[in-house]
């Protein structure tokens, strides 16, 4: 069930009540209840995939235990290999089988050979990319000695299946989340209130910003032929805010819901469109995934150690894989590749300056130089999104061709409501600029502000959600709007 659905609106209060008032006496019972609630949540999509979730959980629980018990490095590696093969094998089967089949057919076709094949009718289990990486990270951390393996299956199952972050992240590190299942949790009103605030902010970003931007992004991308360059360019901006509102909104809701249950989940987005350069962007965008790839792919490959060529290779492999994680299509791989290429000169320059692991401390838009950096980075990211949103690699290149045309300097042809949507985007940018020192923008509205002001803002957000969220009625036949 989606966070912005009626089903979840009924599910959450029931689970919240039971968690804090019925199952709060014993930790084990509370964790068990979370497992049941999480399995109900996941099974709501398709109960058949509960078995995959359970399989992944059991394999990694026992693999980590096995690894920890072994003394010989080869035996430890065996345990790790089993976990990697099973986890990635399941992921590859469900997510990438058809991609490999189709790519093979295309390759043979390029050489003038026809390969008879048919793609498999496979349903992609929701969230498999997320929980697979989460459990894999756990096993690797145990292998590296960063973490003792879980001894309690219930706590571990709760960690894997924790419903707020199960289907769309953040991809939690076991070092952060697993210990929270070992500690008795007591209701903390300020944390819960902060969580509610974050949920509200996430709903606003998803329902008002993302969904309305999505209408125009779809309109422009799905009918890109014949559009002016300026319209196509605006289309990339709409998509930029659709994907940001959608993903960061969902993360905000996940983190906020976690707070309601006494859990602290990691920040997943840190105002990425205020980045002054591509490196900074990747420290702010989908942080849980980018740090996962950094720690489990980039650094094991050698990271920034060695020559510039080796470093560049490591960056490209990491970003190509990251692109591939996002979707089984060459356009996602291209998207990853483009971002990797953009990072190479920046990371090389930083390596020379010895600034490899420091995030940008410069407040964005504080100087003309930083402002230009933010704008140029945003434009670059928007162009990168073309690969992400286009129907195919071919469509992406056609789209670029359409943007870089003299009509780029014409007035875009957009429906009137697009202007209202852009106004909302500006409001979002302003709110986030004002709140950027906090984990999420609305957090700036703390108890120092008068209650009247706080509740006015909350009411206004709820009102805007009610006024502008997309509704799902049957398309109208006659109604004139």
């Amino acid at each position: 069930m989606l966070f912005n659905s009626i089903d979840f609106a009924i599910f959450l209060p029931i689970v919240f009540f039971c968690y804090w008032f019925i199952f709060n006496k014993k930790l084990r019972l509370q964790n068990l209840f979370l497992v049941i609630a999480s399995y109900v949540f996941y099974g709501w999509w398709d109960w058949r995939f509960l078995s995959l979730l359970a399989l992944s959980t059991l394999i990694d629980f026992f693999a980590a235990g096995f690894i920890h018990k072994q003394i010989k490095p080869n035996r430890k590696k065996l345990g790790l290999a089993i976990s990697i093969v099973v986890n990635l094998g399941v992921l590859c089967f469900f997510k990438y089988s058809n991609f490999f089949i189709e790519s093979l057919v295309t390759t043979f076709t390029l050489f003038g050979q026809t390969l008879q094949s048919s793609t498999l009718q496979i349903i992609l289990p929701v969230g498999i990319s997320f929980y697979t990486f989460q459990t894999l990270g756990y096993v690797i951390d145990v292998y590296r000695g960063k973490l003792y393996p879980a001894t309690d299956l219930i706590s571990f199952t709760a960690f894997v299946s924790f419903f707020p972050q199960l289907v769309a992240g953040p991809i939690e590190r076991a070092t952060n989340l697993l210990p929270q299942f070992y500690q008795q949790r007591s209701f903390n009103y300020p944390q819960a209130a902060n969580g509610m605030k974050q949920i509200l902010w996430g709903l606003f970003k998803k329902l008002v910003i993302a969904d309305n931007c999505g209408v125009f992004a779809d309109l422009i991308f799905d009918h890109s032929t014949g559009q002016s360059g300026s319209t196509l360019a605006i289309g990339t901006v709409f998509f930029a805010f659709q994907i940001y509102g959608d993903f960061s909104g969902y993360s905000d809701m996940a983190i906020g819901i976690g707070k309601l249950f006494g859990f602290t989940l990691m920040q997943n987005f840190a105002y990425p469109y205020f980045s002054g350069n591509p490196v900074d962007f990747w420290r702010r965008w989908h942080i849980s995934l980018s740090t996962w790839f950094r720690d489990y792919v980039y650094i094991p490959l050698g990271g920034n150690q060695g020559s510039t060529l080796k470093n560049s290779r490591n960056i490209m492999i990491t970003f190509l894989l990251s692109g591939f994680w996002h979707g089984a299509s060459w356009k996602f791989i291209a998207w990853g590749g483009v971002n990797g290429i953009a990072l190479i000169p920046w990371l090389s320059a930083r390596k020379k300056k010895g600034e490899m692991n420091t995030a940008s401390t410069e407040r964005p838009i504080s100087t003309p130089r930083s402002t230009i950096g933010v704008i140029l980075t945003f434009l670059f990211i928007c162009l990168g999104w073309v690969f992400f949103r286009a129907h195919s690699l071919h469509h992406a290149f056609e789209y670029f061709g359409g943007i870089f045309h003299p009509s780029l300097f014409s007035v875009p042809q957009l429906p009137r409501f697009a202007l209202i949507t852009l106004l909302f985007v500006l409001i979002l940018i302003l709110a986030e600029w004002l709140g950027q020192m906090h984990d999420f923008a609305l957090e700036k509205l703390d108890n120092k502000q008068p209650r009247f002001i706080r509740w006015l803002v909350y009411s206004l957000l709820l009102f805007l959600i009610g006024m502008y969220m997309q509704t799902e009625e049957t398309p109208f036949i006659y109604f004139q709007f």
Binding site: G466, M467, T471, E473, T474, Y478, F479, Q480
Partner: protein, 287 residues
């Protein structure tokens, strides 16, 4: 609620995405509702979508000494028909109900027609119940606005709107006679919403409980559209519920009788109405 009232009253249409309060919108329902005769006895009450209000001309029936009222409305689904029956059946006391059963609206959730009904008729328990049945945010917002700030009672709808002219008794005459081909896919029976079928059966029960005979009529559409999907299973279902008359089989009309693939023009309406009167008399439903 206050915000909805202020927003709905003072903001331009562009800013009111999820408040669709539009008195005087498509189909002249505002005028039709105000014209509903009080405490009278009709010979025939017509129900249905635009296929009703564009097909049954009170003037033709009046020429044959038959008093009718056409309570069709834009994209009316059984959910809205239920509201109208609950409100007006007792006071109208028709001797016969003719329910036009073009089932395309049955495949929808009824939001479009619900907004039309809320914007152009009073808010009462029936419309609140309908809103909960449809369960769409736009309907809730519009209903809230209508209940607080709606001004459809004081609104005066123009009789002539673009190509449409409202004719007393509930008919809407199309003035533009140029034929327009529409791309429509008629739904299969399994595409009809169960909620609409349930509401349809409740409507039939309501009418039967008032001891009023019912005739289910499938008004003519172009033969091209009709033959694209004869909806045999739907027809079998309708036949099982009440006396059913499919005029696309009984009295097929040429394209010159239509202004688009699914709506009769004036010439077509006149021919159809005369045939309908003869049939109803023949069947003993009209004396």
């Amino acid at each position: 609620m206050l915000c909805i009232l202020i927003w709905g009253r003072y903001m331009p249409t562009l800013m009111k995405k999820n408040i669709a309060y539009k008195p005087g919108s498509y189909g002249h329902l505002n005028t039709r509702v105000k014209e509903i005769p009080q405490d009278t006895t009709l010979d025939i009450l017509f129900l249905g979508s635009s296929h009703a209000y564009r097909s049954f001309d009170p003037r033709i029936f009046a020429q044959n000494g038959i008093r009718i009222f056409n309570l069709g409305s834009s994209a009316q689904t059984p959910l809205q028909t239920n509201v109208l029956l609950n409100r007006y059946l007792k006071s109208l006391r028709p001797k016969l109900v003719v329910y036009e059963v073009y089932t395309y609206p049955f495949a929808g959730d009824g939001t479009e027609s619900a907004l039309d009904l809320i914007s152009n008729s009073p808010v009462d328990f029936s419309s609140i119940k309908m809103a909960f049945q449809i369960n769409q945010l736009k309907v809730y917002n519009t209903l809230l606005y209508a209940s607080m700030g709606g001004n459809n009672a004081s609104f005066t709808e123009p009789i002539k709107k673009d190509d449409d002219t409202y004719i007393s008794g509930g008919f809407v005459q199309k003035n533009d006679t140029q034929f327009k081909q529409l791309q429509i896919t008629l739904p299969q029976f399994n595409q009809l919403k169960q909620q609409q079928l349930n509401a349809f059966e409740k409507n039939l029960e309501l009418i039967k409980a008032a001891h009023i005979p019912i005739a289910l009529v499938y008004a003519p559409i172009t033969q091209t559209l009709y033959k694209s999907n004869k909806q045999l299973r739907t027809q079998a279902y309708l036949k099982s519920k009440a006396a059913y008359y499919n005029f696309n089989e009984l009295f097929p009309l040429p394209d010159s009788c239509f202004f688009d693939s699914q709506h009769l023009n004036q010439q077509g309406a006149e021919q159809f109405n005369l045939k309908l009167i003869a049939l109803l008399k023949q069947e003993g439903l009209l004396k």
